[in-house]
């Protein structure tokens, strides 16, 4: 059944595997990056993985609902954009305050 996995664009499995890989890479980035921007990139990766899953499922599983899946994806993209904007604004504000965006140093909520 490996052939099913490695089959071309006409199968669902490759997309899912790719999405899994992207997501786990995003997780890794989120965990390891000490930099706010790096963190943001990880999040974007995960969002993309999710989008890919949605569109792929929409296409291969629920043919008639494919459109809905894509609309949802559009929403995610829009929200991702908004999120990125706010995140960057925050990064900028923090940077102005403490001349740094190292998340390890931003711990005022940790009571230190």
């Amino acid at each position: 059944m490996i052939d099913l996995v490695l089959a071309g664009p006409d199968r669902l499995a490759p997309y899912l595997l790719l999405a899994a890989a992207l997501f786990s890479l995003g997780v890794f980035a989120c965990v390891t990056r000490r930099n706010a921007v790096g963190y943001l990139m990880g999040i974007e990766l995960m969002l993309n993985a999710a989008n890919l899953n949605m569109v792929a499922y929409g296409r291969f599983r629920t043919e008639l609902l494919a459109g809905h899946a894509q609309v949802a994806t559009l929403f995610v993209i829009a929200l991702a954009a908004a999120e990125a904007a706010v995140a960057l604004a925050l990064v900028y504000a923090i940077f102005r305050n403490i001349r740094d965006v190292d998340l390890d140093k931003i711990r005022s909520l940790n009571g230190e």
Binding site: M1, L4, V5, G8, P9, R11, L12, A13, L17, L18, A20, A21, L22, F23, S24, L25, G26, F28, A29, V31, T32, R34, N35, V37, G38, L40, M41, G42, E44, L45, N48, L52, V55, A56, F60, E63, L64, A66, G67, H68, Q70, V71, F75, I77, A78, L79, A81, A82, E83, A84, A85, A87, A89, V91, Y92, A93, F95, D100, V101, D102
Partner: protein
Amino acid sequence: MNVATLIFWPVVAVTLAGAAGAAFARNLVYAALSLGASLVGMAGLYFFLQAEYVAVIQMIVYVGGILILILFGVMFSRDILGTSTEPSIGSRILGGLASLATLAAMGRIAWNIAGTESLGLRAQRIPTADWVGQISSTSASHLGDLLMGPWLAPFLVVAVLLTVVLVAALGLVRKDAQ
């Protein structure tokens, strides 16, 4: 082995490589750029999935918008950070384990899906070979109908949200914010 498949695998490779770069690259600029590559590859995959409109949006919003924002962020954080982005060994182990767990879980699901497809539980789909001339069920106009129909309420909410976000972002970056 048709032409689509021949294009397909390189696109996957680009996406994956870009993502890996975004995750592993020491230098944030390179990371951001490889993220861009990954995003572009993603758009290509959307084409394969017959989601042309999404692919276009992906190119415009992600590659054109978000990536630029991220690059800005990198730009004015880089001079302070220098090479101090070296992640701690502990966080690397943690990240490795976490991502492996994620990969295992989702990979297993994908594997199962593949298995079910082998059992012939595949949805009927239009063969990639003869797209051309077909009226996709997911043309932009169709998506527009959906947006203005069942998705109207979320659409408006998102619209409001985006406005708020815009204002908020502006507020945050105003000079006298501190």
